[in-house]
């Protein structure tokens, strides 16, 4: 029953988020601040993880090819497919659920605990529009983060393959270009856009509707990470079934 209540409240929150808009002059500042916090602030960790995971995917693929009949360009091909189809959109989104999601939950939750949200409401401000809408808009740039992750993942794979002696740069690049389907990139960005919406709204829901004190802010951050990850994994399955099968 509580789950149903929470699901209903979540959808009502989304509707409320678009009502009674905040003054554009103020909203613009909030959006820019959230772009800095959520997008620019995540580039470092996303770049680091993507580069090295790309390298690991390439090495593992190469080490599992023992048959001399299998062409060496398969390393590039397999790395590209793994990165573009799954690692970029899904794996990075799970990491972002931890980094960005817990930041959103704890910052909004702290505002709830310290009555800053009450202060907004007393002033007659739509607190959901003020707090959640800018996060939703700034996360529209999330596909930009994922495209960087894809590029660095594939590049990391190439560096690991070439310097590890598993493949030549020419073979790897030929593999990247092999049997390329532009729809796979479209599929990745469709998933990314859906995950961006989830990343903005589920952590906000857990922060906004939390009750209690500092301890509960921590618990809400953990719960938010768990639910954001669960929803991302479930939607990943559904979208893959719908778009690729």
């Amino acid at each position: 029953m509580l789950y149903l209540h929470n699901i209903g409240t979540y959808f009502l929150m989304i509707v409320e988020m678009f009502r009674k808009p905040t003054k554009w002059g103020v909203m613009k500042q909030l959006i820019l601040k959230d772009i800095d916090d959520l997008i620019i602030g995540s580039l470092g960790i996303v770049a680091f993880i993507s580069f090295f995971v790309g390298g690991v995917v390439a090495i593992q693929t190469a080490l599992n090819i023992s048959n001399p009949l299998i062409p060496k360009n398969l390393v590039g091909f397999a790395t590209r497919q793994s990165i573009v189809l799954e690692f970029g959109p899904t794996f990075i989104s799970i990491i972002m659920a931890g980094k960005v999601g817990s930041f959103i939950t704890s910052s909004i939750g702290t505002m709830r605990v310290t009555e800053q949200i009450d202060a907004l409401e007393v002033m007659g401000i739509n607190s959901l529009n003020y707090l959640v809408f800018p996060k939703f808009i700034s996360l529209l740039l999330y596909p930009f983060v994922i495209s960087i992750a894809m590029f660095l993942g594939i590049f990391g794979g190439m560096v690991a393959s070439v310097y590890g002696g598993f493949s030549t740069a020419e073979d790897y690049i030929a593999g990247i270009q092999l049997d390329f389907k532009p729809f796979h990139v479209a599929y990745a960005f469709i998933k990314t856009s859906v995950f961006a919406f989830i990343l903005a709204t589920i952590p906000s829901f857990h922060g906004f509707y939390m009750k209690g004190g500092a301890l509960e802010v921590g618990k809400a951050s953990t719960t938010s990470f768990v639910w954001t990850s669960v929803v991302i994994i479930l939607l990943n399955y559904l979208l893959t079934q719908m778009l690729l099968s």
């Binding site: 003054k23 702290t110 505002m111 009555e115 800053q116 009450d118 202060a119 002033m123 007659g124």
Partner: protein, 255 residues
């Protein structure tokens, strides 16, 4: 003037407010007092529309809150200033930005007009050269002053304060009480203060509403609270040794 009639509020079947009726007069500092858990904060949050209530009526100068449209409620909220117990300053904004916030949201003033107004209200609460500090860099007393400055920056008709001097030393608490009283007199606003501090009662309690277990147990002023025979009130007022001595002195002086 704010009128409250038969206000009821429950949480999960537990009745917290059990039919409170009272009025808060214009140009006066109206205090709501009572022990912790008596329903003071719930009452003030119902007055502000932060908590929906099951039964009763709240009217602001004749405007019944529950009958207002969303736009009318928003307009009314523009006339309300609120000082929260923990100040509720926005962490990410400087002190000047916190005070400017209501102006930015609700007025079409130019930046220089807003800056002038912020300078004026910060000076009014005796805060000079604090504009660029973050709330975390300010002391508890300073934070309360900033919260008061933010509450009055839009020239409100109604000022609500939830335990404005909690966590402050006695001297700073008196300064904050007096500041609220001065502002109430100066701008002729309806001020409602939630408190359990007897010093506040003695300093600024022009009208006092005493709550116990969600009911109004007594109503009067700082002059009449020491004369009342209401046991519930005397138990609360004279709970400390200091206040018992004050009462003894009062009785001896009377004799």
């Amino acid at each position: 003037m704010i009128e409250v009639k038969d206000l009821h509020k429950s949480f999960a079947g537990v009745e917290v407010l059990k039919g409170i009726s009272t009025t808060f007069e214009k140009g006066k500092t109206n205090l709501i007092i009572g022990q912790s858990g008596s329903g003071k904060t719930v009452f003030i949050k119902c007055l502000l529309g932060l908590f929906p209530y099951e039964q009763g009526c709240i009217s602001y100068d004749g405007k019944i809150f529950s009958e207002l449209t969303e736009d009318q409620k928003r307009d009314l909220r523009g006339e309300i200033g609120m000082v929260f117990q923990g100040s509720a300053l926005f962490d990410s904004l400087t002190i000047a930005q916190n005070v400017m916030f209501p102006l930015k949201m609700f007025t079409k003033q130019s930046k220089s007009e807003m800056e002038d107004r912020v300078d004026f209200v910060l000076k009014r609460v005796n805060l000079i050269d604090a504009h660029h500090k973050m709330p975390s860099e300010a002391s508890g007393g300073m934070q309360k002053r900033v919260a008061i400055a933010r509450a009055i920056v839009n020239n409100p008709k109604y000022l609500f304060c939830d335990e404005p001097n909690s966590g402050l030393d006695p001297k700073t608490a008196i300064i904050i009480d007096n500041l609220i009283k001065e502002i109430t007199d100066e701008y002729d606003i309806t001020t409602v203060i939630n408190s359990h501090d007897m010093n506040s009662v003695m300093e600024i309690g022009e009208k006092i509403v005493f709550l116990k277990d969600g009911l109004k147990a007594w109503e009067g002023s700082k002059d009449t609270i020491f004369k009342t025979d209401n046991e519930v009130v005397t138990d609360f007022v004279y709970s400390s040794e200091l206040m018992k001595k004050v009462r003894q002195m009062y009785i001896e002086e009377k004799q």
